[in-house]
Amino acid sequence: MKAIQAVTTILAVATLFTIPLLLDNYFVTWLFTLAAIYSIFTISWGFLERYSGRPSLGHASALGIPAYLAAISYNLGFGILTPALVSLLVIFLLYYLLSLKLGKKEFIFATFVISILLWVAAPRLVLGYGDTMVGGEEGFFLPHVPLKTIYLLSFLTLFITAMIYDFLARTGLGIKMGAVRDDELAAKALGVKISRMKFFASLLSTLTAVAAGYLYSFQFSHVSPEIFSVELSVFPLIVSIGGLSAPRMTFLSFALLFAARALNALAPQFHLVFYAALLILFPIFGRRLYAQG
């Protein structure tokens, strides 16, 4: 069964990779690249959820921090490699310490609050040099990178992360991490070092999120406060509820995504209620839905 899952993953990524090459259309390539980046982002969330039992409801911050740091560093005339290392360190420490200190429900709320704070703070971030001001609501621009390059890098990253994600479940480390996800105390009572397992889960999630953040910002050559939005934060959660093989769960996923979009368009004042409901209901039903998937 697990071998079938691995083969399916390889085939899915290979198919998604091939279609833009065959069609050779700018929009199709752009769309598939974005799909690949969202997939990497979701896998990053999955590393935390599947391997440490800590679902984040503010994972947009893991996407936005590297993107913003890269943009600020570029606008200040520095390189883009240092911000990658800094964001790796910041996000890793954030996830690792929060997962060590907080229970599942507290972790969900803490990540949600952090993401909201960043969403609120980002528009206030303005850089001025001479008589030029950048940042604020408009966000920051980044150098243009050819779409084909982003496309190739995105699929290469997606392929590697998807393989690691699937392969890890079959390793001894993955089994021990799964035990921590299901029941920390029971895992401890068998001698599993909880902090070590959470270290690996946080590290894998962070590495993947930073890669997704960089690819995302360079695909648009621009980063704005919307990268910290609630919508982006709940995206991996909704996708993971549905995207786990059972057809009815896939329909549920589409329904939830559609409902989120529709609420945002029709009654923007109420769409946060939808996310609040998810925030409350996911800790209660999330794992059951995930298990069914």
Partner: protein
């Protein structure tokens, strides 16, 4: 082998375990019985390192394990099986047991060792089943299997026969008797002395947090 000296534990200003002393030799099985809330589970959890005592000492072999973390106590050779089974629900029975084996062996050897444990407890046919799909009796056996995966010298079985019908209780009892024959030292708790009679070498009654030896 295991010496518990004057252990006390209070929770929320209520004394749960009061000045308990006990000794367990190699291969010895001690049965502790007593009503609900008498402190049996708390005592086992204190020995296992899951709960820290307020005072007293626990010595295993020549090592003072009183304030060691539960992972370190397991490493020393004492493992606790929960009263209400705590399986890794999304994992198969095989993976559940393999977790403990992986901490001690390579993956190949851990697989072999897991199979042996499942066979010993008569649940090898459940190997591929998800833990969330097991019955209460099967969960009790899985809980013991998980504890065995740590290769303990002392097994702490917290009410292994509780919440089971007669048939399942007898199945679990027979497996525990086999473990005794294999030479495991055990402390087993139960509500009543009767079910422990055929297993334990020594008995003690727990009442109001105090342990009284019984013949």
């Amino acid at each position: 082998m295991l010496r518990v000296k004057s252990i006390s534990k209070s929770i929320n200003h209520r004394i749960i375990v009061r000045d308990v002393n006990l000794e367990l030799d190699e291969g010895e099985v001690m049965g502790i019985f007593g009503p609900n809330g008498s402190g049996k589970s708390t005592l086992l959890k204190v020995i296992a390192g899951i709960i820290k005592p307020d005072c007293g000492r626990i010595v295993f072999g020549d090592t003072d394990i009183t304030f060691l973390d539960v992972e370190e106590v397991v490493e020393k050779g004492i493992c606790y099986a929960f009263q209400i089974p705590r399986p890794f629900r999304e994992m198969s029975v095989f993976e559940n047991v393999m977790v403990g084996c992986l901490l001690r062996y390579s993956k190949k050897e851990a697989k072999k060792r897991t199979e042996d444990i499942l066979r010993k407890l008569g649940i090898v046919h459940l190997a591929e089943r998800k833990a969330s799909q097991l019955s209460q009796g099967e969960l009790k056996l899985l809980e013991i299997a998980k504890a065995l995966s740590t290769e303990p010298a002392v097994l702490l079985l917290d009410e292994p026969f509780a919440a089971l019908d007669m048939k399942n209780a007898l199945t679990v009892r027979d497996k525990v008797i086999e473990l005794k024959k294999d030479g495991y030292a055990m402390i087993i708790t139960a509500h009543r002395m009767r079910i422990l009679r055929e297993i334990a070498d020594t008995f003690a009654e727990m009442r109001g947090g105090m342990l009284h030896a019984k013949s």
